[in-house]
Symmetry: C2
Subunit: 440 residues, 2 copies
């Protein structure tokens, strides 16, 4: 028998591998950071002696979810202001709160986000915000996988000051975190409306030079598109194509207000899309034409966007919304079927982030980013179909165990790497100071 670190057994193993294997009473063997083997429990139990055995108790063993768009530290602003026109929300509530941000606040807000993400089954997130060095440290400390990048725009930032410094800050992040097993640094200009062509081109050069992914907000609303048309006489996607910004390592967030030509550009340049339906609904931005993206072969992942516009980071709930929203939008109950949506939240999410060789499915040699769902609960009985269950019935609260890179981050709903009471207290203190200052 071969010695390994972890054997997860007694569950439905949903691999999300190319063969779509689903093994009833299966097991997953983990050694170090990686998956060693997946198969029937009977076989693996005789083949491996594990330091730790995790009993899935008949639940679902599957790849951890990939949240392709977050502003993690904005957990501090969860529910600070809702049901408001976008500009009132931004200018009267979010921007004033953000003007007081510090590295410490971002770190504590991100820790809370990591707690929420792990507790709801997400094992990788892709973040854009300020003070992203703090985000990277918080994620690393929590043991969660993350793609992080400092937001860049034409005006001065509370973190780095003028944008030239932002580009340098990004290059420093790339150097500091290179070869980190969990953290990938991305280059992240905010959007075509907040970034000059000059900034976008410089950002792209840094990304290309370092082989780094890029993240940008793209066509979140018709208002944004109208703004760009007025400024440049073209849509945001056309504008980015024109200046040579589009490419396969670009992650475009939202993509709500898209023309036929825009969609063709995404496809032609193999741009990846992060779809954030709940945020788009809550801010009344619109509905991204995701069924069309998929029929064109564009890779789409799912994101929650921030807690200020959602107001949670539960990707299982987001999957439910993805499946249902496009059905009613197209008046076709067959679009966005459950297997498609689970793919978007796992292996396709990994593809969006350029991490598909490492994560997104349970396959021999891939990193051990694994979650277990407890299905012995009234709202998960009976189970006719695993995919349907994951999309329409499971919520993040049903995730009992989470493993990232071979490290157990949560077991039986208890977080191991984070002191949850301290994490909550820290952010409650931040919120109190925000309320005090807003009242002053």
């Amino acid at each position: 028998m071969k010695s390994i670190d972890i054997l997860i057994k007694n569950g439905w193993v949903l691999t999300m591998a190319p063969d779509n294997a689903l093994i009833e009473t299966g097991a997953v063997a983990v050694s170090g950071h990686s998956i060693v083997e997946i198969g029937p429990e009977g076989e693996l139990s005789t083949r491996y002696r594990a330091s730790k055995i995790i009993d899935a108790r008949g639940g679902i063993i599957m790849p951890g979810l990939v949240n392709t768009h977050t502003h993690a530290a904005m957990t501090c602003f969860r529910g600070l202001a809702d049901d408001l026109p976008l500009m009132t929300w931004l200018h009267d509530h979010i921007f004033p709160a953000e003007a007081r941000l510090t590295s410490e606040v971002v770190c504590q807000g991100t820790r809370l986000a990591c707690a929420e993400l792990i507790l709801s089954g997400t094992t990788t997130f892709c973040d854009m915000y300020l003070f992203e060095d703090a985000v990277a440290h918080a994620a690393k400390e929590a043991g969660i996988r993350a793609v992080v990048g400092e937001v860049l725009y034409d005006f001065p930032s509370p973190n780095y000051g003028p944008v030239e410094e932002g580009l340098k800050y990004t290059e420093t992040l790339i150097r500091q975190w290179q070869d980190d097993p969990l953290i990938t640094i991305a280059v992240e200009p905010h959007s075509a409306y907040l970034c000059s062509p000059d900034l976008l081109i410089k950002a792209k050069a840094i990304a290309d030079e370092n082989g780094a992914p890029m993240v940008i907000h793209l066509s979140e609303s018709e208002h944004e598109v109208a703004q760009l048309r007025e400024k440049y006489g073209r849509t945001p996607a056309e504008h980015l194509a024109e200046i040579g910004f589009l490419g396969p390592k670009l992650i475009a967030d939202h993509c709500v207000a898209m023309t036929e030509k825009d969609i063709a550009l995404l496809k032609a340049f193999d741009v990846k899309v992060a779809h954030n339906p709940e945020s788009n609904m809550k801010l009344a931005s619109g509905i991204a034409p995701v069924p069309e993206f998929l029929s064109r072969g564009i890779t789409v992942g799912i994101g929650t966007d921030s807690c200020a516009s959602n107001n949670n980071l539960d990707l299982f709930q987001e999957m439910d919304t993805v499946a249902k929203l496009h059905k009613v939008q197209t008046l076709d109950p067959t679009v966005m079927d459950a297997p498609t949506v689970v793919r978007m939240a796992t292996i396709d999410g990994a593809r969006v982030l350029g991490l598909e060789d490492q994560i997104g499915s349970l396959e021999r040699g891939k990193k051990a980013d694994i979650i277990i769902i407890d299905i012995r609960q009234p709202h998960l009985v009976p189970m006719y179909n695993v995919y349907s269950h994951l999309v329409y019935a499971v919520s993040g609260h049903d995730v009992v165990t989470a493993i990232v890179n071979g490290q157990v981050l949560m077991e039986d709903r208890v977080l191991i790497t984070l002191d949850v009471d301290t994490v909550m207290e820290d952010v409650n203190r931040i919120a109190e100071s925000i309320v005090l200052k807003a009242g002053a």
Copy 2:
């Protein structure tokens, strides 16, 4: 000091009473089936000596939610068939499964629904299905409040046979359950497309005679409206108005495909509406014009519809969908604000069912239907606004305690009136037999 049965203390008391009182560090005193007093904890603690003290630990104490439209026993078909065209779903999957229904299956399916409802904070549901005597018994046994009625249609039923027997069955139910503290019997013809005018008129006569509420599916899709137009030359609402069926004790489920005239009819006759956005999305039926209903002063509650088309009974998740869906539909982030949506799920839901004098808010003299939300969890930190939290961040899993009619049904997530393992096993056995028969 006055002796009472239960004192709930140390929480935010959200009353949903006409004055919208919200008491930080409040308490609720319960004696027998009713609420005796609501106020600051300091005052109530000195005034009452309670047999049982429940510590809300800083959470939210609020009225139990009211689910205005369910087919509870269809928990047995949760995820049986998804992502299919409506007619394939109904004729190839749901109808064959329903043809084999028995009173025992309905009872066991309803018990599972009651478990799920209580666990997610719903304390009253309004049900339409077959073998509703079994539903009433299962609800009563679980201690949950319910409005139930046997579905009536022109063709023979697996329960009562020909529809004349269905009308008699309904009258018997009304007699049997009259004056029950938890169960109200409604008269429930399925819809204008499955019920002849003769049946509808007879049903209405029984309802009027007994002062019973009525429930009907109304304009769930454009397809249904087209069918009615072809048959009668008018919309379902016009048709029902024409035959004298509309009135203030009528609960109309769905109301998705509505004309201006239809909406005016609902208002003129004070018809109540049960809004089921997730089911309408999943079946690609359409989006009910709820903001318009509300602006006209029509009373609207929220429902989940069945587990076959949702696939859960979590009314907190449904609230989130209500708030977000109409924002993106109208492209206005200010519609369906959080307080409005919480009202729909509580006091307005009670109004829909005609139970507003008994439940839907925490007020002295009302029945003690109360839930407690645990907010000491990462995804519920921080809390700036209670209403926003309930709609956009809380899920049913966060409900720790549920009380109906003064009886504690759940404490610290443990169900008291139902043996949850047996309840789950029973429905798993039903599901196995459905799968076997479908495969045979």
